[in-house]
Symmetry: C2
Subunit: 462 residues, 2 copies
């Protein structure tokens, strides 16, 4: 049932002694992604053989499926003129990414060897910051003028299709390259030759501005679910398109980043990263947590006398803190996901906080009751205390659990909402701040209740 | 710089008094996604007016951009024959999803009114489980026979394009509908009429089997980054395709689920969900955590005498537990992400564990040293203990922190690897199990060290 793995087949072909013509035609039957997978398993000699055997277009295709850093390595193995020719055949977004991986001298050399129009496109893409959507566009798209006929549009398409891959949507511009609308290729294909082109154009086709931040427009790109979305400059001129495969990559990256931040990393990591890099990504939050942890410790210190008189209550501290922490994280995760998908009105925000607190109250009530019954029994049976003492302690634990869960839900919801409001990434809010606040709440309510009821009111000591 | 929000414009048009013909032509200029956004802001009367004014194809388009549950509501507002006609015009994957939202009677009625071929397609899609990729495919694609000419292929395409939206890739089948390969529409368009079709066919185009589980093949679908990937039955017959917009949705869902699980929820939640549902999603892990928390509490109980003699060390328990927990979560998040993206060899797994432990050791060493210096000073200055006592306690804290961070990194990496091995979702491993193990490790090393060194060796008491 597994889809076949072509890697070994392809390697066998490359290592065989067939003539270049036969080998090239046999390799052309494989998907560029599979060939890309094979490249890293070959020796430098075998790869150089392949560069000679495969044609330029095929190699461009393959490099598009290779990680940018690997592609840069392969290009270094080729002579510059060939490397430039292959680069010229790539989608401009992948091309720009590969160039970023090369050292300055090599990059300059290759850029100089590129076709003039490719070089111009690359310079446009490179002019945008990495977090602007313009840096992810490709200029590889079909553009026609507004006032042509269906027949002219069709032949213009055929002319441009030779150099441009993304043909399923055709973009229409008015004078001065200003974006006017888009035509679904399907509609063009089935249109009669005398049909007015104007009627095929969707003038409310979605678009983004090149200078928009990626995380500001990624949800919109996702929602419209088009194969390619045009990118405009500030004068509404069409610069290029974002393809659906870029959108997939962006969604994946964006969620991966949030995911990493929720887990207390400053950015995503991967397997190959050096130790120092990984340490740097993890250290900031650990440091903040250490500092905030000291605050919690000082607060716990205030209750030292409670613990001296009733050492048993200290056993259940970790239980209450862990529960509060977990509830806070649950609320946080829900809130971040909601914030990611939609922009909320004030009323909806209040509803969300209210809903989270109700869940915290209900779950806290249930678990608090269970703890009261079970922990009381545990202290009575295992620790051998009196029944009254056992249930007095477990009542404190139950109530503290309820309080801590209720407040943690509120904190886990309000903090990311607040961070969003002041334009700080809400996923960053997670780890340290929420953990600390919830720890404080849990510690104060637990030891506070114990002190008030068990020691001050009932004068107990264990 | 913001992209314009068309909602108000559209609502104004609908509420105006223009004639149906003018209104329909004005509304047709908007993107279906924008019209879909507007639907939920209209009254039932206004929506019913819209159903009459817009044509069937437009309404099908709009419902594809609507959430399935909302689409089901709107369909209930229409008369069944119209609803069935609109459903027939939708992509089969969206259609299947909307049908799932309807109650049994209504669903039966509408299915009976569908076109025969649409009904057949729906039944095929409905025959797959929700976690099989077949349930997400659409039958909306262009299929041609293997042994036709370029000219025949082109006219077959034009014939099929009227009913099928996804035309950028054309799928080629041999006799008995067996999948043979794919043609890029671009290649077909620029090919000469007498060019042999065979040469245009990519025979190693990626494909998936309908019965494959979504999380098994989603990475492959992402890697090939094609606009549509064919779905085959077990006899290699072409059933339908997965479009790139479905892939975006799947990637988003898949990561969202993992994200939720990492935060201790059994499934993703949304804003509109009833309280009971949300409670149910959060309760399981809280219950497990409560049970496991009791285990930790019993272990802490063992050290009651240590705390009685040295109450000060109990102040720093939460600090060490929080740090260990955070480090474990960091390792877990990295491991889950790595596991999501690639299948690792045994050697790579060992490397990952080794790398995580090295990071744990290095960060632990740094933070341990800092804690030793700072906490020693804190106890000396604020708590007014002797210098020797202060630094003996803070040395224990520093060493326990180092140990806890080292072991937590290992646990945070090994547990998801182990879960993956025994085919349990590694993201589920997160919350309770790792938290508990790390708590136990931290508690035992901290109190154990304190007992051994401070009490047994140096006979201290504070």
């Amino acid at each position: 049932m597994e889809t076949k793995d072509y890697t070994q087949e392809i390697i066998d072909i490359i290592r065989s002694n067939t003539s270049p013509a036969v080998m090239s035609s046999r390799l052309e039957d494989y998907h560029a992604n599979d060939l890309a997978e094979v490249l890293k398993k070959l020796t430098v000699q075998e790869r150089c053989k392949l560069y000679r055997i495969l044609d330029k277009d095929m190699l461009s295709d393959i490099l598009e499926y290779t990680e940018a850093d690997e592609a840069a390595e392969y290009l270094k193995e080729m002579e510059p003129r060939k490397a430039a020719a292959i680069l010229s055949g790539m989608e401009t977004d992948s091309l720009a990414e590969v160039l970023r991986m090369l050292d300055k001298g090599k990059k300059r050399l290759l850029i100089d060897l590129l076709d003039d129009d490719v070089r111009h496109d690359i310079e446009v893409i490179a002019s945008f910051d990495e977090d602007e959507i313009g840096s992810r566009m490709t200029t590889n798209c079909i553009i026609i003028q507004k006032n042509v006929t269906v027949k002219e549009a069709m032949s213009s398409l055929i002319r441009q299709a030779a150099k441009n891959d993304n043909i399923s949507t055709i973009f229409v511009v008015s004078s001065q390259q200003k974006f006017y609308g888009a035509i679904d290729l399907k509609d063009l294909i089935i249109a009669r030759q005398d049909h007015p082109l104007e009627e095929l154009v969707v003038t409310s086709y979605p678009y983004v501005y090149a200078e928009e931040e990626i995380d500001e427009c990624i949800e919109r790109l996702k929602d419209y679910s088009e194969d390619s979305v045009p990118v405009l400059d500030n004068d509404n001129r069409l610069l290029g398109v974002i393809t659906s495969s870029s959108i997939i990559e962006l969604v994946d990256d964006e969620m991966g980043e949030d995911y990493a931040k929720l887990a207390g990393l400053t950015a995503e990591e991967d397997l190959k990263e050096p130790l120092k890099e990984s340490m740097k990504k993890r250290m900031p939050w650990l440091l903040i947590l250490l500092a905030l942890g000291m605050v919690v410790s000082s607060v716990v210190g205030v209750f030292e006398t409670v613990v001296t008189q009733l050492p048993i209550i200290m056993c259940f501290q970790s239980l209450i803190l862990d529960m509060a922490g977990n509830v806070g994280t649950q609320s946080l995760a829900v809130t971040i996901r909601v914030l990611m998908d939609e922009s909320l009105t004030g009323k909806q925000k209040a509803e969300l906080v209210f809903k989270e607190m109700r869940i915290g109250l209900c779950n806290g009530g249930l678990l608090g009751l269970m703890s009261f019954v079970l922990i009381g029994l545990y202290i009575f049976a295992i620790k051998g205390k009196t029944l009254a003492f056992s249930y007095a302690v477990s009542a404190c634990i139950g109530v503290a659990l309820l309080l801590a869960m209720l407040i943690s839900s509120a904190v886990g919801t309000c903090i990311p909402l607040l961070f969003k409001k002041i334009k700080v990434d809400p996923a960053v809010a997670s780890g340290p701040l929420i953990t600390t606040i919830n720890d404080l709440v849990a510690v104060v309510s637990y030891y506070g209740l114990s002190w008030l009821f068990l020691i001050e009111l009932f004068h107990m000591a264990g």
